[in-house]
């Protein structure tokens, strides 16, 4: 028995999920949105964002139902999801499902990366948006991708002392990317850069170790020409690009390729009636997520014509996504970051040496417990993919830790 039934269920209340839910509801469908976070908006629109508020008002007018703080941990039978909140657990039935599960940051292990106050770039920003005080804190921002610039600007406007942005990609790659941007994107980049006046942006530069007794005290950086130095700081905000959240898609049997969930022109996955939109189908940024969400929403709502009208907009945003991926590809030197005794799996404290002695992900799980802790490989999986060329082979429920009582229903 399902507790609730909907025509369309959307998992994820970020940009793709918000546009998908509105478009499906406009087609007359009864729609519910489930999201793990306490508030809608996803990560990019976390906190008080005007864009998210506008889409949420529209969704509410259309009668879309929200379930926030809701973890989807299983699909116990076809067209049904098992969901847990702080208060209890539910079974939600759907005719069509739209996966807008977004992305997480890719973290790479280096000595000291487990120290408190070494965080993701998006991670530090997420907490700062939820009132973490950063004024006067010395922050080093490192890793790769345009997110580093956005985080730097956010930190600076909130009073942080941003010491440096260390971008691992080469200057040539970043310049080529900037020149290939459509005018709108280029203007965004230029205004971001202007907002960063006074902050050093070093390309071909990456962290090699973090130091501190009980928490982070300094970070050592290296440049492609071999220079190494140490910066004292209170926070290291470090993310090496994004990786899509694919666990639920994998559980539902959707075909997955190297970049994300495979979808057809209507954003439908290989599993009939299951659509995917946004970063889950491959990292492409905000605009692509919005339009993919709209297409999925119209398609799940049964309005193919409206969906088709958006195909050309999607194509141009996809070209941008390809340029992004190429420009910020991770350099081979980053594979040398972990030392033998550096933890690769932070949940189970498994060293790189022990994991590297195994021949694949499954063997590493069985022999070392790598990827078997509470995050279930969400952190070390992205690292192992880059460092060792491994990918996760299968997903089993629960895809997120759940209470025994929730699973035994």
């Amino acid at each position: 028995m399902a507790d609730r039934e909907f025509d369309v269920v959307v998992v994820g209340a970020g940009p793709a999920g918000l546009t998908a839910s509105c478009r499906a509801a406009e087609c007359g469908r009864q729609v519910a949105v489930l999201d793990d976070n306490p508030l809608p908006g996803g990560q990019i629109w976390r906190g008080a964002s005007k864009e998210a508020a506008a889409w949420m008002r529209r969704a509410e007018r259309l009668g879309v139902e929200w379930m926030t703080g809701a973890r989807v941990f299983d699909s116990p039978e076809p067209q049904k999801l098992a969901v847990e909140t702080f208060e209890g657990d539910w079974r939600i039935a759907y005719r069509s499902l739209i996966l807008a599960t977004g992305a997480r940051e890719r973290f790479l292990p280096f000595p000291g990366w487990t120290l408190p106050n070494v965080m993701g770039a998006g991670g530090l920003q997420a907490l700062a948006k939820c009132a973490l005080p950063v004024a006067g804190k010395r922050v080093v921002i490192a890793g790769s991708g345009p997110l580093l610039l956005a985080v730097a600007r956010y930190m600076k406007t909130h009073g942080a002392d941003v010491r440096l942005i260390a971008e691992q990609a080469s200057q040539a790659a970043v310049m080529r990317f900037a020149l290939s941007c459509p005018p709108g994107k280029l203007m965004q980049a230029i205004s971001l850069r202007a907002g960063l006046f006074g902050i050093a942006y070093r390309t071909g530069c990456w962290p090699v170790s973090a130091q501190g007794k009980h928490r982070l005290e300094s970070v050592t950086l290296r440049t492609a020409d071999g220079r190494t130095w140490t910066e004292a700081c209170d926070y290291l905000a470090c993310g090496f690009g994004l990786v899509p959240n694919l666990e639920l898609a994998a559980l539902l049997g959707c075909r997955i390729s190297r970049s994300g969930v495979d979808v057809d022109e209507f954003q439908e996955t290989s599993a009939a009636g299951v659509f995917a939109a946004g970063e889950a189908t491959g990292i492409g940024g905000l605009e692509l997520s919005l339009v993919e969400g709209e297409i999925a929403g119209y398609a799940a709502g049964g309005n193919a014509e409206r969906a088709k009208a958006l195909f050309s907009a999607r194509a141009s945003h996809r070209r941008f996504a390809k340029a992004l991926e190429k420009a910020f590809a991770l350099r081979a030197e980053l594979r040398d970051l972990p030392r033998p005794d550096t933890f690769l799996c932070r949940c189970e404290d498994v060293t790189f040496e022990r994991v590297g002695a195994c021949s694949n992900w499954r063997e590493a799980k069985l022999h070392t417990r790598c990827g078997m802790g509470p995050c279930q490989g969400r952190i070390c999986g992205g690292a192992a993919e880059f460092l060792l060329g491994w990918s996760a082979e299968s997903v089993r429920p629960p895809v997120l830790p759940a209470r025994v009582g929730s699973m035994s229903r």
Binding site: F86, F107, G123
Partner: protein, 82 residues
């Protein structure tokens, strides 16, 4: 809605802006080790968005809550394991 929320972290009262996450309150309380890892290392938030489970704390007696995903409520009792 009031502008701020009072709660306790390891018995000490802290005040944070309304809408702040428990992870924020723990940092405001001056605690950087939210928990100990299986080999005893101090750990704090990494991903800030509910993925990594590094920021787990005990909230009102319930263990293993991701502090980055729980909004502070008045009178909450938060305990870290660091």
């Amino acid at each position: 809605m009031p502008d701020s929320v009072k709660l306790t972290v390891n018995g000490a009262t802290v005040e944070v802006p309304a809408g702040a996450m428990v992870a924020t309150a723990v940092a405001v309380a001056g605690v950087s080790a939210y928990r100990r890892s299986v080999s005893g290392e101090p750990r704090g938030p990494l991903c800030g968005m509910g993925i990594c489970f590094e920021c787990r704390v005990t909230i009102d007696g319930r263990a293993h809550c991701r502090s980055c995903q729980v909004v502070c409520r008045p009178g909450m009792e938060v305990r870290t394991d660091g």
